[in-house]
């Protein structure tokens, strides 16, 4: 167990290292990183100053150590546009992103789990086909398109919901739906397959052999077991949602991290773009690690393996 956790932590650190290396190298891939790190329209003197500041006149390995040193101190640079440290900006937007992601997650689970169970229980029959179609639709309709269509329908024609901004509960509805839509499909698929797997297990057979009615077999013995992987995915997806909300947040002008990323792109504010990517990637590596460790505690089989 200890060994297992130690190894997983080792892998995660390695992943973080590779992540930083990837980002570092990509920035240098285009030639002169100073042109990225400098404000658009900076003078030659400014660029030279930046080269000096980031040690860009030094050898590459030195630059990497410098880059890592900054990262480890939590220094992600300063936004050109806002003139504030990127980390500060990120943290100020995080609550909004979390709020949106939580509502979107609730929505996707409320839609995905019941339909997934229905599809599994009626596998190969009518409701399964309907479910499959919706899952496919969920994966095929990009979230920004869903968002635009929602605006068209609920804001422009019906005039029920505000098309953008934040503040009220009503502001939250459409972006949460647009963001949750894709994940609802993913959660439905996983619920279905996990449910099918559980339904084929020996303990479900035994539950039936005990003479339990089918409803109890499903509601008591299958449901809880089938939900474990779904909840795990939901946990991971909550973090994913924060990071993929960029289009939805852009469509609805929701002031979260995605919107920050979009601003970073449109103002050519590179430190923001870089910071969001680094924090996002690290968050996901951390969550994966957490999930693995929690799983190791919950699932005795993993413990035995280690």
């Amino acid at each position: 167990m200890k060994q297992f956790i130690a190894r997983r932590i080792g892998y995660s650190l390695l992943s973080l290292l590779l992540l930083s290396l990837t980002i570092f190298l990509f920035i240098r891939l285009t030639g002169d990183p100073a042109s990225l790190l400098a404000e658009p329209g900076a003078s030659a003197a400014d660029i030279a100053a930046i080269q000096k500041k980031f040690g860009l006149d030094q050898p590459v390995w030195y630059q990497y150590i410098y880059f890592m040193g900054n990262l480890l101190r939590g220094d992600l640079g300063e936004s050109f546009y806002y003139q504030t440290p990127v980390l500060e900006l990120y943290l100020s937007r995080l609550p909004n992103s979390l709020l949106l992601a939580s509502v979107a997650m609730s929505f996707s689970l409320l839609l995905g789990i019941p339909t997934g169970i229905l599809a599994a229980v009626r596998v190969g029959r009518f409701w399964d086909t309907v479910g499959k179609f919706f899952a496919l639709l969920g994966l095929s309709l990009p979230s920004f398109l869903v968002g635009l269509l929602l605006i068209l329908f609920f804001s422009v024609y019906l005039e029920w919901l505000p098309s953008s901004g934040s503040g009220g509960f009503l502001n939250l509805l459409m972006p949460a739906f647009a963001l949750g839509w894709y994940f609802a499909a993913a959660h439905m698929r996983l619920t279905r397959s996990s449910m099918l797997e559980v339904m084929g297990s020996e303990y479900i057979k035994l539950a039936r052999l005990k003479g339990l009615p089918e409803f109890k077999v499903i509601a008591k013995h299958a449901f809880k077991n089938a939900l474990i992987p779904v909840m795990t995915l939901a946990g991971i997806n909550l973090i994913n949602m924060i990071n993929v909300a960029v289009v939805v947040e852009t469509v609805f002008a929701w002031p979260g991290i995605g919107r920050l990323l979009y601003e970073g792109i449109s103002f050519r504010d590179f430190p923001i773009v870089q910071g969001v990517v680094i924090i996002g990637g690290s968050m996901i590596v951390a969550v994966n690690l957490l999930v693995d460790i929690v799983y190791a505690f919950v699932d005795p089989r993993i413990r035995l393996e280690a």
Binding site: G200, E202, Y203, K205, L206, L209
Partner: protein, 345 residues
């Protein structure tokens, strides 16, 4: 079909505990193109207190037969014909809700894999007491108390603490006992054990078999014991049924079949009996592969591997013959006319 070696006294007065008549179960693939006759025209009689051993290679349809008896087949499985009389009452046409009252109540079953048979998320006490709550309307607390008693009866030490634990806290042998306790919790008349010891190690196997035998004596259970291992049959059973490719190719009292096997397949099995100490060596000593169950050859399914096969075996399927009183076999060798001429072999 029964004879005097069996220990049931009242066989002529009462209907047998279980009687299977020409039972067939098929698995049909989703497209309908592949049909596996997993149980094909099987007949068998069992009295209270009897232990029937069912042997056969992996894939010969033993588990399918057991699942058919309780009507818990996977979605692809269908009982296509035959009768299953429990105390003279046919189970095949029973509506599902009546069938449910038989499962766990009148017929208990022990599944093959003790590691996977228990739900990892519920306590042992909950799972052992569940049939009691379902069938006898026992309250939570009385089911819990009786679960402790049941664990005691399957010889689990300190049952009071065990009931509060979860499956992953138990060893394999202990879990299999718990599954056994679930099987007998409502004092069924018939217990089906599907290879209950295959995954256990040797000493634990022996303990478990003794336990099952004691339970059977104590409750006068009818026991259907499915196994790979003829050594276990010799120890546990008084009646033997041999399955091959979904058919019951031979059946009869254990001593009779062991001394005078009528079917070449049984003969081959007997000559390759693994002793209890050779747990790993299963019934694999027979040359050749078992046939493809979805594409059986015409004639006798064993013909390709049978050392005594002759022309007729490859074209015509042997029906059930009675080579001796109480013994049946599906083999042309024991057909009355071939024995009369004594020509073959």
């Amino acid at each position: 079909m029964l004879n005097s070696t069996r220990n049931s006294a009242s066989s002529d007065v009462m209907p047998p505990l279980l009687e299977l008549r020409n039972l067939s179960t098929h698995y049909v693939s989703a497209s309908g193109s592949r049909v596996v006759r997993a149980v094909d025209d099987v007949s068998l009689t069992l009295h209270a207190g009897d232990t029937v051993g069912i042997v056969g290679e992996s894939g010969s349809g033993k588990s399918s037969l057991a699942l058919t008896l309780l009507r818990v087949l996977p979605p692809a499985g269908r009982i296509v014909s035959g009768q299953m009389l429990l105390d003279g009452d046919d189970l095949v046409p029973k509506p599902e809700n009546e069938m449910r009252r038989i499962r766990g109540k009148k017929i208990g079953m022990i599944l093959q894999d003790p590691m996977a048979s228990l739900n990892p998320l519920f306590t042992i006490g909950d799972q052992v007491g569940e049939p009691l709550r379902e069938h006898e309307g026992a309250s939570r607390s009385s089911a819990w108390k009786r679960a402790i008693g049941l664990l005691k009866s399957v010889r689990i030490p300190s049952p009071e603490t065990r009931v509060t634990q979860y499956p992953h806290e138990m060893s394999g042998g202990m879990r299999q006992r718990i599954v056994g306790a679930i099987g007998i919790s409502c004092e069924p008349r018939l217990l089906i054990a599907d290879e209950p010891t295959t995954s256990l190690d040797l000493t634990i196997q022996l303990q478990y078999l003794n336990l099952l035998r004691d339970l059977q004596k104590e409750h006068n259970l009818g026991l259907i014991f499915i196994t790979h291992n003829l050594g276990i049959v010799a120890k546990m059973c008084n009646f033997l049924a041999v399955m091959y490719a979904g058919k019951m190719v031979e059946s009869g009292p254990v001593s009779q079949v062991f001394n005078n096997p009528a079917h070449p397949y049984t003969e081959a099995l007997l000559s390759s009996i693994p002793r209890m100490t050779e747990n790993r060596r299963r019934l694999t000593a027979i040359e050749g592969q078992p046939p493809d169950m979805s594409n059986l050859p015409p004639g006798c399914a064993f013909a390709a591997r049978c050392p005594r096969a002759f022309d007729r075996c490859r074209t015509e399927e042997p029906p059930v013959f009675t080579p001796a009183p109480g013994q049946t076999a599906r083999c042309w060798l024991v057909a009355p006319e071939s024995r009369a001429t004594g020509a073959v072999s």
